[in-house]
Amino acid sequence: MKFKTFFWFVAPSVFMMLLFIAAPLISVFIQSFQITQPVMQQIEVETCTPGFLTQTCVTETKTVPVINEETGRTETTTAWVGFQSYQNVLQMDKFWSAIGSGNWGEILQIDFWKALRFTLMFTLVTLPLVIGVGLMIALAVNNAAKSLRGPVIFVSLLPFIITPVIGSLSIYWLFVGDGILTATLERWTGQDIAMFAQAWTIELLMYFYRVWHVAPFAFVIFYAGLQTVNMDTLESAIIDGASRFERLRYVIVPHLMPLIIFIALIHLMDCYRVFDEIIGFRSQAHVISLQWLTFDFLTPDDAGNRAISRAAASAMLTMVGIVILLILPLRRTWRDHKGGAH
């Protein structure tokens, strides 16, 4: 392709990526090293609030922002603070003192590390499950009778179509309190079951939900891959006396390897940003994720304060985490790529 043609083909996409990905990223990067504060002043204010019958008025000293007379907006100052916001998120001093004193459990009481523990575990536990379940469905569908394939594909794809937040909310409603499934389980086991009362049951539900939700994606990719398996190789393997498992292990899986890597890449990126489950399951008391932490910093409180700098720092740390996670599979793809380009 001529360079000019190529350029005009990719230009819109490059422009969009610069505008909507690169520019915000740079802005967040800068903000993570800055703190913008309103200029505060102390004033005496008399505030009258109603009781049921009479008002109570109190005069107190309040700290309030200064409002600029000309613009009508609050005056703010912005200062470079180096890695302070990162320190506020990471709390390395507490981290090291916990390690120094040998109380490893204390590390998990720091929000960031608590979130990192869950996020990593969530990512790494669901990854093999998604690939395994996806592959199994693909093999099952591939071996199903032709007339059944259409309906089976349709049904297995359903979980993937559901909006993640709605999906997690449905699971929450099925299990919370006397939800249908909890009530059934209670009747069956004769025990009082509270799925949302402790961290481990919530985590189990989250793993289950994520695998249920993402496995169809892996399935679709694998199913497409299975159509391209070299039948000659497969037949010669049968003639050589390879069992069903051996055929899978030595013929099909190596053939699907690039796809497995691809799904692993996508899944790692998606899972590291786990968020919907936390909101849907209302699990903040027990389980939090890195993405939720950023969201929490950004949510204004009743007085309108939001921790933008810490949110920026936490977002940058999340990105660093994803990059580190992706290095391994990416290196492999890179090697394959170089090896493949004779």
Partner: protein, 406 residues
């Protein structure tokens, strides 16, 4: 979508309702409002909508939208529904206007009690008070011969008897959903033990004896609640009540009306209200007083402000109150307190009275810190003292960031 549905539901309920007297005038200026979504706001905005050209947005997450929406020029909404917690950012940013002249023009029916004055200027008009108070199943308590509890110790004693009798799943319900709700429980309990939230230099004073006692009491509650209490918010507790699963709860008075809603409730007429329990003898009821009311945006024209205030007064008039008497503890003329209001009124008029929720920047920061740090204590991951230290540290970090601490 949710909002549209709510607005639609509002519109439909309006069509079906004949209880409202029609509006006394025709509103010609297009107006919009952003308020919370509970029953009382629905009644008020429905009454406003009768005058025409009015679009109401009822959203329980209004608090996250309102500051930015009012800072826009022109403001995205003309009328805002606030409480003493959520008026703070609007006051701080100067995005709401003083209402003195408008009150003079249209506010003949307002009582002085309704006018929220900040430094002498009227900045908001309150329509109702809200507070958390003790709601209990009077039938169960009467059956078991338990007197209405007036302190938390009595609540726990009653809870023990109720659990023993096994008449409900859990004796107590609590709005302890991690985050804002859970923090509010502490904000109720802590002043009940005589605690002050802040020192004179804006540092927080929660790491104190009163703080320890408040945490203790909260933890004792867990013995009698649903094990999933850390996901339960006001609506969840309300439903537990309606379905007869709990016998007592310290719940918002704005939820009282739902107990007698025959479409939802299986316990119609069986739930009574009493003052919020005291944390210690001779103290104030362990709760905070709230008001809800309207503000008018600063970044709109004077004509719009005039029309908006006139419309708001139409929405908050005696006609509206008569048709929605049970929806809130109204401050509006014509309100006749029914049995559902007894608890809230007893709470608000108690001596010593519970404090009003402080509308300050620091309180917002502390509320967030409480909401994030308390769960670890209640799940047992962290001791009480360590939790208070953690709250103090979290507050200090964010207060420094927000510029209220050096």
């Amino acid at each position: 979508m949710y909002l549209k549905k709510l607005a639609l539901a509002g519109a439909v309920s309006l069509l079906g309702s004949t209880a409202f007297a029609a509006c006394s005038y025709q509103n010609e200026v297009p107006l919009k409002s952003l308020t919370a979504g509970f029953e009382a706001w629905k009644a008020v905005t429905d009454a406003m909508a009768e005058c025409g050209n009015f679009q109401a947005e009822l959203d329980q997450e209004f608090r996250t939208k309102q500051p930015a929406a009012f800072e826009a020029n022109p403001s995205l909404y003309h009328i805002g529904g606030v409480s003493n917690g959520t008026i703070t950012p609007l006051l701080n940013a100067g995005t709401i206007r003083p209402l003195d002249d408008l009150v003079e023009k249209y506010g003949q029916n307002l009582s002085p009690n309704q006018l929220i004055r900040v430094d002498g200027q009227i900045m908001a008009v309150a329509m109702m008070v809200n507070t958390q108070h003790l709601m209990y199943r009077s039938d169960i308590l009467a059956d078991l011969g338990i007197e209405t509890p007036s302190t938390w110790d009595e609540v726990f004693a009653a809870a023990e008897k109720i659990e023993e009798a096994g008449v409900v799943d859990h004796a107590i319900g609590a709005t302890m959903k991690s985050g804002w709700n859970l923090a509010q429980e502490f904000v109720n309990m802590y002043p009940g033990f005589g605690g002050a939230f802040f020192n004179a230099d804006n540092t927080t004073a929660v790491n104190s004896e009163a703080g320890m006692k408040a945490l203790d009491t909260m933890k004792r509650t867990l013995e009698f609640t649903d094990p999933e209490v850390l996901v339960s918010d006001s609506t969840y507790v309300q439903q537990q009540f309606q379905q007869g699963k709990i016998a007592m709860a310290n719940l918002w008075s704005s939820r009282a009306g739902a107990m007698n809603d025959e479409n939802e409730s299986t316990v119609v007429g069986k739930v009574s209200m009493a003052a919020a329990p005291m944390a210690m003898d001779g103290g104030a009821p362990a709760t905070t007083l709230w008001w809800d009311g309207i503000v008018i945006a600063a970044n709109i024209t004077d004509e719009e402000a005039d029309a908006a205030f006139r419309l708001a007064m139409e929405g908050m008039d005696a006609d509206m109150v008569q048709s929605a008497n049970e929806a809130a503890i109204w401050l509006v003329q014509g309100y006749e307190p029914g049995p559902l209001a007894e608890g809230a009124i007893a709470t608000a008029t108690a001596n010593p009275a519970p404090p009003a929720y402080p509308s300050t920047t620091q309180m917002g920061l502390l509320h967030t810190a409480l909401g994030n740090e308390l769960p670890a204590f209640l799940t047992g991951e962290r001791g009480a003292e360590a939790t208070l230290v953690a709250i103090e540290e979290a507050y200090t970090t964010s207060a420094k960031e927000a510029g209220v601490l050096e």
